[in-house]
């Protein structure tokens, strides 16, 4: 248990550092701003209680907010994403989520399910974040375009990071 808490805290610190130091400066053609810290929320274990999920998501978002001068915006998007997570997991994992050995990663979920899981949650997060940031209906389609490009890029990084860092299980 302690091991799990520790590894999640470590993951949060590394992801926030990566986001603030590198990915906040990434800008392809003025449209793509990936927010990779959402990996933290995606990778939290399935058996985490609901309230803890919301609170950790809130603080993860708040940490990014403090460093990128967008007070509250990332926090709002992250909390909403965390709120949607249990429902999406229930729909995708077909009853296996109560297994203590079943974790949210490519090995346990399978590539197809994991991509779907990441894509849906990243879309929720990015759509909310980009629309809160713009806060203007007049720029609806431009914001939509920006959000979609960033969603695809973030999802790509999420899936690649799975292969780069997850320990492959011996079967």
């Amino acid at each position: 248990m302690n091991n799990k808490v520790f590894s999640n805290i470590l993951r949060l610190i590394i992801l926030v550092a990566l986001q603030v130091l590198i990915f906040n400066n990434v800008n392809f053609s003025g449209y793509i701003n990936p927010y990779i810290y959402v990996i933290f929320i995606l990778m939290l274990p399935f058996e985490i209680p609901g309230w803890l999920l919301l609170v950790t998501a809130f603080f993860a978002g708040l940490m990014i907010d403090v460093f990128s001068n967008t007070m509250g915006m990332h926090a709002a998007a992250s909390v909403f994403m965390a709120f949607c997570r249990p429902g999406i997991i229930r729909a995708l994992s077909a009853g296996k989520e109560n297994d203590s050995d079943f974790r949210p990663n490519v090995n346990d979920m399978g590539l197809y399910r994991f991509i779907l899981y990441a894509l849906i949650l990243v879309s929720i997060h990015h759509m909310i974040y980009f629309y809160i940031e713009t806060f203007r209906l007049g720029e609806f389609f431009r914001t939509f375009f920006r959000a979609v490009l960033s969603i695809l890029f973030t999802t790509l990084i999420v899936v690649l990071s799975q292969y780069a860092f997850s320990k492959s299980k011996v079967k």
Binding site: V20, L21, N24, N27, G30, Y31, N33, G50, W51, L54, V55, F58, G61, D65, V66, F67, S68, N69, M71, G72, M73, A75, A76, V79, F80, F83, P86, I132, E133, T134, F135, R136, E139, R142, T143, R146
Partner: protein, 277 residues
């Protein structure tokens, strides 16, 4: 009472979600309008130090470019000082200094964090209230305008860039002095918009746009950019003008903070005017 506790216990997930969203929304709103939260200033100091360290490291990569810019500016300023002009008349003249009173003073500062790819962009500078920076001071580079100081901590200040949906800067077309407003509705950090120019005004592509000096923030005649294209929609009373910014927001590194010595006086007059209406 018991039923209430049972209700909270049953729906704690949704209730907690709503509470956290309300907290985030109040943070967003407070930050956009008041920005005077004490804890925000404290965190600003902390993040300021982190950003300062990062910019100290990355600053080395641009040393050559920055040096070139500074040298160019030095050359331009040197050629405009009195000693570089030859006296054309032999008659004695006196420069009476009391005729001129200094209205603006420039303080140089280094950009330690810069963003230009979001809808609302901010910069962070390494000068703060200890160095005399206050809210609503103008920030410019040798090439053109950058933004307005919107938040100050002890040693750092945050600048609302021109690339922000709420920034409005009074501007004019230099050759005929017609006034308009600079806003940023583009997705591209190189172009901006000049609005409120009436259809009878004559101008061509490439005309220079400068600050008008109508506000108490920017001095008159600071470069903003050149006109890139213009159009007028049927039934509209104003031109829709796109301009190329002369500032390269991608690589602003050293900026000047402009202090207006007569700002209080101007503001006071403005306020009495408002009260009379």
């Amino acid at each position: 009472m018991r039923n209430l506790i049972i209700f909270i216990g049953k729906h704690h997930f949704v209730l907690l979600f709503i509470t956290l969203e309300i907290i985030s929304c109040s943070l967003i709103i407070n930050n956009s309008y008041y920005q005077q939260l004490v804890f925000l200033n404290a965190t600003n100091e902390m993040t300021g130090k982190v950003n300062n360290t990062i910019s100290n490291i990355t600053g080395y990569f641009h040393l050559k470019e920055t040096n070139k810019q500074l040298a160019e500016e030095n050359a331009r300023l040197r050629s405009s000082v009195v000693s570089s002009f030859i006296k054309t008349s032999d008659s004695v003249f006196i420069i009476n200094d009391t005729l001129y009173r200094q209205q603006y003073r420039y303080v140089e500062a280094k950009v330690i964090k810069n963003s230009y790819n979001k809808r609302n962009n901010y910069l962070m500078l390494n000068k703060g209230s200890d160095q005399g920076v206050k809210k609503e001071m103008a920030v410019i580079t040798s090439n053109g305008i950058v933004g307005i100081v919107n938040e100050v901590s002890k040693n750092f200040s945050s600048v609302m860039s021109v690339l922000h949906k709420d920034t409005k800067i009074s501007a004019m077309i230099r050759k005929n002095k017609y006034k308009g407003t600079i806003v940023w509705n583009e997705s591209d950090y190189k172009t901006g918009n000049l609005i409120d120019i009436e259809p009878h005004v004559k101008f061509v592509k490439g005309d220079t746009v400068v600050t008008s000096g109508n506000s108490h923030i920017f001095p008159e005649g600071i470069f903003i950019g050149t006109i890139k294209s213009y159009s007028i929609k049927p039934g509209d009373n104003f031109y829709c003008i796109k301009i190329n910014f002369s500032t390269d927001f991608n690589r602003v590194e050293y900026v000047y903070i402009v202090k207006n010595f007569y700002k209080e006086e101007q503001l006071k007059l403005l306020n009495t005017q408002k009260n009379e209406q």
